[in-house]
Amino acid sequence: MRTPLTVRLFQSLPRTAWLALAIFAAIAWIAIPAAHLLLPESSALHVSAYTVTLMGKILCYAVVAVAMDLIWGYAGILSLGHGVFFALGGYAFGMYLMRQIGTDGSYGVMLPDFMVFLDWKELPWFWIGSDSFLWALFLVVAVPGLLAFVFGWFAFRSRIKGVYFSIITQALTYATMLLFFRNETGFGGNNGFTDFKRILGYDITSPQMRLVLFGLSAALLIAVLILGRYLVTSKFGRVLAAIRDAESRVRFIGYQPTQYKLAMWTLSAVLCALAGALYVPQVGIINPSEMSPANSIEIAVWVAVGGRGTLIGGVIGAFIVNLAKSFFTVSFPDYWLFFLGFLFIGVTLFLPDGVVGLWRKLRARRPAAPAPTGTAPAVATEQPAADTPPPAASTQGARA
């Protein structure tokens, strides 16, 4: 009596979570479009193009954060190079967007401007087919997926772990960034791709297109959350967590950790890439700085702020950090780094398991209020830091 997969997918999320996702979907697919298109700009409830783009951008970041949490939170593999997959997804789709410009560029020819400028007479081979939407979608998945697969295959096979893995992912993104900086590489150098005009022939700046992209980002996030939840509650997820905690032990009971890690790693990279592909048309530019090491570290920071190993924490973290950034850079342009810095410090000190951890603690405290004897002081309920480190942080992760 096997339960069908769909049912299990459904069961992997608690009812409240489904409800929350439904509300989220309703807001993203109905309320916001309506408020953007139908309400007049003067209305207090009008959602501006700015807000839609901003939210769309953060939704993409949230997908990246969830992808990061899958590999970091659940498999204990801290990638400091996830930006490379995000950016490659963006570039893959950006190539299509560049081709859609057609002859509207400043040189008025079919070649992208930067190629004209480099005296290239025709498209380099790796641009072939980039005018096809489907091929672009294929590239979005295939290129980062393949890179992740090959990179992961070698790394996991060599049993590179912890910080060693983190550092080579950093080297990967850094090297790729430098490579893309070069004009000769064929992706527009430092300027990257920008000034997009159309997708599938439709004007990229039209409100409808904006909403479609926004809606797709929301859909991707929902899908990633459901998929992620299914994965981490499946046996696959449990094996992965076991690998995180005691890899050699897992080997001795007959699992091949390499394959498990590789599967999750590649999936995570592909999810990032999809987010990148949706991100680029919304923000209107992709350039190599997306692959800078600092950007990738920030992804980890979102997850940590929200709460690692919780999936939803990534979403929350991405929203908190990026909204804070958007707000502070305008309201306190000279001091916003202080706010952000103290936010990070505060979260680690006072919310060791991120925002989600705080929420859980608050919830756990309520039923626990009538403690067994009532005399137990709070200190004793605390995990003794010296003795048994909190499970989530004991051995795995960025440390050898």
Partner: protein, 539 residues
């Protein structure tokens, strides 16, 4: 010599000249006027004249021009501006009132070149050996036919062997164009002693054929001599090339090492993923800057020793910042290494912005003290810059310090024990909290020392640390976390490799290749160069 002292001497000299009358006649008014001409050619001719004439007053005039102290007043008079007043250029007498409208004569590189040659032509007759040596070196590279009347007598009169050799080369360079084949042969042979690529080019030009297949140098013997000399020079240049690559690699390695050593403690030994490491470097660098400022205002006479004072200050400041960080933030995160990543990332943002608020967003100027400026010329035109030499030495010093601290002291043992098993360390009586603070402080202080050294070669600005953090982690990790010897090897290896690749493929591609190398290397050594081995590693 400081500029003001220079001025003072000049005034003194001019005063003397005026008081007692000079042995030479004063430069003619006409020459003076030509000095201030619009047209550079005229001015340069006038400069050459003054140089050849070589009178004390001419020298003073040339010096003033070089210092941009020679000015033209509104009414067309040439004056020499000093810190205390103005002197008439023609007479040397003081002028009152101070000519407010005096515009210093423009000196561009061409004029400056002419001034230097003129100066050298005078100085080659100086009594002071060092002055003559400098002049000879200048003449070696720039002498032309016109200077032969000065060069040859100078060569004959020169008592010093080294200077004579240099002058001989200078003469030979000129003689290479001589009409007499014998002179040319002799010159071509002599030039084989040079290690100068430009000499090689000059000799090679003799072997060129013109459109009719005629050699530029008609005499076969001269050509043979030139060929032999070219080979000799090339051999020397090849060695020089190798040596210079090795030196630059070593130098880059020492900088990487200094940048990484602090991290080797805070991260390598203590396990704190210290994203604020770069900012601790910055603290050290700014401390150096502040010390420099204090010396400039309070101890201008000792400005050259400011770096020495800055070393302990940088250490202590960074250590204090580090200890504060440990006490307030990192302390609560032991056993949760990944959270340290987040918190120290936050700390780094705060430190950057703090620096920006205090010192401004721009880079600040940290000057090399004079003993760290310039370089030692070793053979074949390789200049080993003093600041880099000093930094290599300093890296060795800091390395030794760290090694002694970690391996030879009880503190070092406690630190290692605490990070391996904090609870148990407490249970054998180690005051873990104090050790943590101290150790982090020392690690931070070492980073401060790194910053002090970096201030001597690179930017000092709020964001400077960000540029080192990636490299530092690469060094520590590539070497094998917690392995000092590994960090040293990694830093030197990366330094040399970068420099070799850079010479071959350019900086950008070299950087990419180095990163790719790191990725591949870790596949072979998944625990870094000096991997910890033993049965406990896996568990």
């Amino acid at each position: 010599m400081s500029p003001s002292l220079h001025h003072l001497l000049r005034i003194l000299w001019l005063t003397l000249c005026c008081a007692f009358g000079s042995a030479h006649a004063a430069p003619s008014a006409e020459t003076l006027a030509r000095l201030a001409a619009d047209d550079s050619d005229t001015r340069i001719a006038a400069i050459a004249e003054l140089g050849a004439e070589g009178s004390a007053q001419s020298v003073a005039l040339l010096d003033a021009l070089a210092d941009e102290a020679l000015a033209l007043t509104g009414d067309g008079r040439l004056v020499i501006l000093t810190d205390t007043g103005a002197l008439d250029a023609a007479s040397g007498s003081a002028i009152a009132p101070y000519p407010d409208d005096a515009e210093p004569l423009m000196v561009n590189n061409r004029v400056r070149n002419a001034l230097q040659s003129a100066k050298a032509a005078t100085n080659i007759r100086a009594t002071d050996r060092a002055t003559r040596l400098a002049a000879a070196q200048l003449l070696r590279d720039s002498a032309g036919e016109a200077l032969m009347p000065i060069l040859e007598p100078a060569l004959d009169a020169e008592p010093d062997k080294e200077i004579r050799a240099i002058l001989a080369l200078a003469v030979a360079r000129v003689n290479l164009a001589s009409a007499e084949p014998a002179k040319r042969i002799r010159a071509a042979e002599l030039l084989g002693d040079s290690s100068d690529a430009s000499v090689k080019a000059m000799l090679a030009a003799l072997l060129d054929k013109d459109g009719n297949g005629q050699f530029a140098e008609p005499d076969a013997e001269v050509r043979a001599a030139a060929k032999a000399s070219i080979l000799a020079i090339e051999r020397r240049l090849a060695i020089a090339d190798l040596a210079s690559t090795a030196f630059t690699g070593l130098s880059l390695g020492s900088i990487l090492l200094l940048a990484a050593l602090g991290l080797a403690i805070t991260y390598g030994v203590m396990g704190v993923i210290n994203m604020a490491h770069g900012e601790l470097l910055m603290v050290g660098a700014y401390a150096t800057y502040v010390v420099q400022g204090l010396f400039r205002t309070h101890l201008p006479g000792y400005i050259d020793s400011y770096v020495l004072a800055a070393v302990p200050v940088a250490f202590l400041t960074a250590a204090a910042v580090g200890m504060l960080m440990e006490r307030t933030v990192i302390r609560w995160l032991y056993g949760r290494p990944l959270e340290t990543l987040l918190a120290t990332w936050g700390l780094s943002l705060v430190l950057i912005q703090t620096a920006r608020v205090i010192f401004g967003p721009q880079n600040v100027e940290v000057a090399n003290p004079s003993w760290m400026s310039g370089g030692v010329s070793s053979f074949a035109d390789i200049v080993l810059p003093w600041n880099r030499l000093v930094i290599i030495g300093f890296a060795i010093f800091v390395l030794l310090l760290v090694w002694l601290m970690m391996q030879k002291t009880r503190l070092g043992m406690f630190v290692r024990a605490v990070t391996q098993n904090r609870a148990m360390a407490g249970c054998v009586g180690v005051p873990t909290a104090r050790i943590d603070t101290l150790a982090f402080g020392i690690g931070a202080g070492i980073a401060g020392l790194g910053g002090c050294a970096l201030s001597q070669v690179a930017n000092v600005g709020p964001a400077m640390g960000q540029g080192y953090i990636v490299d530092s982690f690469m060094v520590v990790v590539l070497g094998g976390v917690g392995q000092l010897a590994g960090a040293v090897t990694a830093a030197m290896g990366l330094g040399l490799m970068t420099k070799i690749l850079e010479g071959w493929a350019g900086a950008v591609v070299a950087k990419i290749l180095v990163l790719v190398f790191i990725i591949i290397f870790i596949q072979k050594r998944p625990q870094g160069l000096f991997a910890l081995k033993g049965r406990f590693v896996e568990d």
